[in-house]
Point group: D2
Chain length 378, copies 4
């Protein structure tokens, strides 16, 4: 695609040239294996391919590659402005990044607990050390990794990406950014110098709470090639229906995330302006309420679709999700349907008065009314 299409167009057409058949909507490919060329003269053995130095791009076994994964990687590459590699989950993508960078030390601040659990396994087995983010400027060594998350889970607030990029790059270390909470066009992290972007594609790229997937993105095609090579053996390619559903989801991606972020900003603004009416509501966090200049630069649409509130007591936090009618009480985020989660349910180190809210594509006024009704009942 030579032309400079906009995101809404790319989300639908970036993969057109990868269609193998005339189906307007891609088939679901599930075959684990693919027939070799029926002409013996066309066959190239693995040794012949290696000797020729060529990268083997044929589709021969679905753990290596399959047609729909090719398509989602093409679309994600265009949307994320780099070379995207798709995984079976956000955490298998994070794990793949750790296998690729192979750091001795990882610096990590407030971030998704799952990433920390993977780091625990790497420390348990292989002695990879985790350190607090703030110690990076002092301790970081060449080859180490700063793992940032911005906006931060569960707060929905931004941290200064460039600040950490400078620290890492001044010492020959790398920055991996988990941008799950603000996919394009909400945030374009390569503009701030990060080395690799990671997404739990389960969230906004999937967007319908019905698939697990992850993605890593690099500006360097050789990095993507190395990630593909490892993925072949680690066995963590995005699954068949998951890939297909994600391709389908990408068709409405631009509509969904713009609506979700607009809804979230509107709800946060309403709650912020009406705090006095809700005594149970103690605090409210979202990038749109942050004043720092770097926040505007990083998040041109004023944040992402997730924000958090703190309420007056754990008892209230426990009860609040049962009072909403439109917000389901469940973990996760990024789906078309709004969710609220008392975070203590799935995160044992977070404040037990915190509720994370993931805003869907429903009507914003219906969501405001529902949340306010629930808050009033406490």
């Amino acid at each position: 695609m030579a032309e400079n299409y906009r995101i809404a167009t790319l989300a639908i057409h970036a993969d057109d040239h990868h269609a193998h058949t005339s189906d307007i909507a891609s088939p679901i490919h599930l075959s684990s294996t693919y027939a070799y060329n029926s002409d013996p003269a066309q066959l190239k053995t693995l040794k012949e391919l290696k000797d020729a130095g060529g990268f083997h791009e044929d589709i021969i076994y679905s753990r290596y590659n399959q047609p729909v994964v090719v398509r989602i990687e093409e679309v994600l590459s265009k949307l994320l402005d780099g070379y995207a590699v798709a995984y079976s989950s956000g955490l298998s993508a994070f794990h793949a990044a750790m296998i690729y960078f192979n750091p001795k030390n990882v610096f990590i601040g407030q971030a998704y607990q799952g990433c920390k659990q993977i780091l625990n396994i790497l420390e348990r087995n292989y002695g990879v050390k985790s350190h607090p983010l703030e110690s990076a400027s002092e301790l970081i060594q060449p080859g180490d990794v700063i793992h940032l998350e911005s906006p931060i889970n569960p707060y929905g607030t931004a941290i200064d990406i460039e600040h950490y990029v400078k620290i890492a790059h001044s010492r020959g270390a790398f920055v991996l950014l988990d941008s799950t909470f603000a996919p394009p066009p909400l945030q374009f992290p390569f503009e701030f110098g990060v080395d690799m972007i990671m997404h739990s594609a389960t969230k906004y790229f999937g967007g319908h709470s019905d698939l697990l997937a992850g993605v890593l993105v690099s500006k360097d095609p050789k990095v993507a090639e190395a990630l593909h090579a490892d993925r072949n053996y680690i066995g963590t390619i995005t699954a068949s229906l998951e890939s297909w559903l994600m391709l389908r989801s990408l068709r409405t991606y631009d509509l969904r995330v713009r609506k979700q972020v607009a809804n979230a900003v509107k709800i946060v603004k309403y709650l912020d302006e009406h705090r006095a009416e809700f005594p149970a509501l103690k605090s409210l966090t979202h990038a749109s309420l942050q004043k720092e200049e770097f926040v505007k630069r990083q998040l041109p649409l004023n944040g992402g679709p997730v924000f958090s509130i703190e309420v007056a007591s754990p008892e209230i936090a426990r009860i609040l999700p049962s009072k909403t009618k439109l917000f389901h009480h469940a973990t996760s985020l990024g789906g078309v349907e709004s969710l609220i989660e008392w975070r203590a349910m799935s995160d044992s180190v977070i404040s037990n008065t915190l509720l994370r809210i993931s805003v869907g594509v429903e009507d914003a006024d219906d969501l405001i009314e529902d949340l306010c009704n629930a808050l009033k009942q406490l």
Copy 2:
């Protein structure tokens, strides 16, 4: 299931008690997230669960668990006579076993190249050393792992499992057996003392060449619990459609593998007895042709559904797959349709005159006729 049902029955009913709805055929569950109990009084936070020491068995997020994976693990546990944990691919299962055992040294002989590639990654990053199988008796240390494959890919021949179990256990090391080529009732490896069984479930448990999956099995429920805990974070649970298709496949599992092994034994016997008619055919390997006593003990149905042939030249090996009408030229094995693969296509260290044949559930006489016709054309 208290009763002693036979395999054909277990494959269909072992998971009956896990049905959440009245659907006779399980629904396909794809939700990434599941609503918490709507009664606030019933909610248990992660901290409350940890304090109570209880293992969290609720279904709350599909990277941890989901209803169909529960069902396939139940059926696989009954069929494999242990505690089964299901993965996204055979290699992600092997990788999980390496993360679980965390050996300093791995002893591996003739085995699937993919496993060796994972060992390469572990050596590259973490210094885990691979050694030839024959050096185990000399070099093995406590905590190390012998990784066996039997029957061996691509030959379909057996190696003496108990021999290696004795070596490992005499030194406090472990045996992981890749039993992919002979699932029950073709082989019951726990009878020979192995510590863990691994299967590429892509093969016979899937059986239709349309899914990727893997499984690890232990006799110890605590091991399965530890594997589940790691899998939660490594992000390699069997995918949604893959799980469901495997559950569907398990319903015909007993019929398929019995037919496949009977077909293979019949074809091998025919070829062996008619070698003189096929000058291009230089050799033939399959457990049914082995004379050793341990082979009969390990493989009561005379082997598995895969065997290999060597032909007179690489040119003949290249051409042979184009001469069969029923055997597709493709990698992989275990499916209902017979495959033939010139192994040099996907394995750069194997003899370039070898062809691996995976026998399906077609009529044995049709397969014999097709293969013989092809051999005669060379």
Copy 3:
């Protein structure tokens, strides 16, 4: 749902109370049969149910009903403001309406050829007569049916619905409206007195060109009950994956159709204002270009997402679709991706210089540029 939620909210939550499990995204139900209550005392035989006069709402066999069809019918009922019954295709819905109304005469004007083909079968077999729409005022009898389509395929222009409703109702006849080209909130046909609404749900309710489905809607629950009763036997319930995909599609329905109609209106306006630049473009039809007062009343968003153009010659019409990069040359409409079809390809009675354009959710300016580039090349 007692509350007055808006369409964007209803599309996501109208079916919440039909969830059988805690899955946030509904499972795909495929079971053909469902276990009866395991308590013998709870069993009610068909005769007992009939004697009690009760309508049998249990889910027992998927040709009658299944959980996901219940959900899509609930959402469609809310969106379409009536009682919706879902079918396997738009034409099986039309056929069901013909079986329900059982008219002796059907009056039909410019309309989808497929409907006319069904009328041909009914005439061939059972003597049901088709007549031109304009003859209705003269010939229509009690029990007869006027089948309207508005906006009209392929022109995208509106006809005066109330005019035909008055004719039909003055004679005890019925109006069935095919509203496929303008689903809510583009058009609310019950406001104009039609007796039944039909949609090819393949189009905007499906919206991703990956499913076939149809729907009939009545304001009378007894009519829906009668349609369900017939559907049980005619065997035309929406299929399993189709139902599930449609439920998934409905979550983004409001976003999609609003974007599609806005895109279409913008493109039509651009082409209309720049006609002079495109000598090959002879005419342009869309409701937004109609001046009649009833058009504004029927189509508050200025039409639907389909319009047609006529070009200077059949040769140009044949070539034009090969010149666009974003509009695929294919039949059908309603999907996220824009399509252009030289209608002569699939309609043998339409002008052979006409091209039908279905506008997707891409960026409007990208679409305008693509179409103009194509027109300039002719």
Copy 4:
């Protein structure tokens, strides 16, 4: 496929030549529409095709045809030894046969209630008369249809097909045979002169209780062409996932039906020989217990996998299904899992002491033990 492959081989390879891609397991095609040829010179309009008299075999819209339906029709044609046309359900296939034959009178005996309900609709609307089977010899007219079912639902017993064929053919009438209860190789009805065969493919061709489908088969390709033409408009092609699952099912079809019928014959024999032990068991019906010569000729494997029992009272019939552990209490048949149904649950005209048993592919001895245990508890 020129060669005379056996059923087990045909079930896996009859569709090989319809593969569009190199996938060993077919993709699931869901696209509703397919791109036309991108070369304008290759386009043929509908009028051009009609003028050339050619039948339009391209895949352009999934209501007409799609790649997986082409494949299942090819396999079913080989298995059923005729030209097969696939439908959305068994009843939509029956309805299509009625639309094709367009009889004034239909003669029908003991048969599936659903077929009778369709005949009720045709009588209600169009005056098509249903008559008892035994009146055929007296009343039948040219163009009329005898609709036979053999083996008969729910008894599993055979009726003399040739007898009715003679009556029909002597008067220029047709015989439609519902062969659902005994698909090949259990029964080959064209050998007995029937004009068309119908199957609820939901049953043995699907075989996993997870899809609805139907099939009509004719020896005359022109009949299949006419059926396809009508199906295009009636909108009752087999759905996307249903087609794909059926193709997958067909791969194990031969294994399943042979095991199911062998299981059923074994169970019936056991019950018949041990009647004295089960006072609650009043009678037992299955083709294997019939003595007539035509039964052996029609059913070379001694019947089909369904049989019925009558018990001593309706109360016992109500309770029996709650006493089995392996037989689920549900309607339908043909699946891998055994079912038992108190027929009064879904059939209001059958004896209320009758239970229909559909035998699956479990171990026969496990099934016998389970059924006997249940009978002993009454």
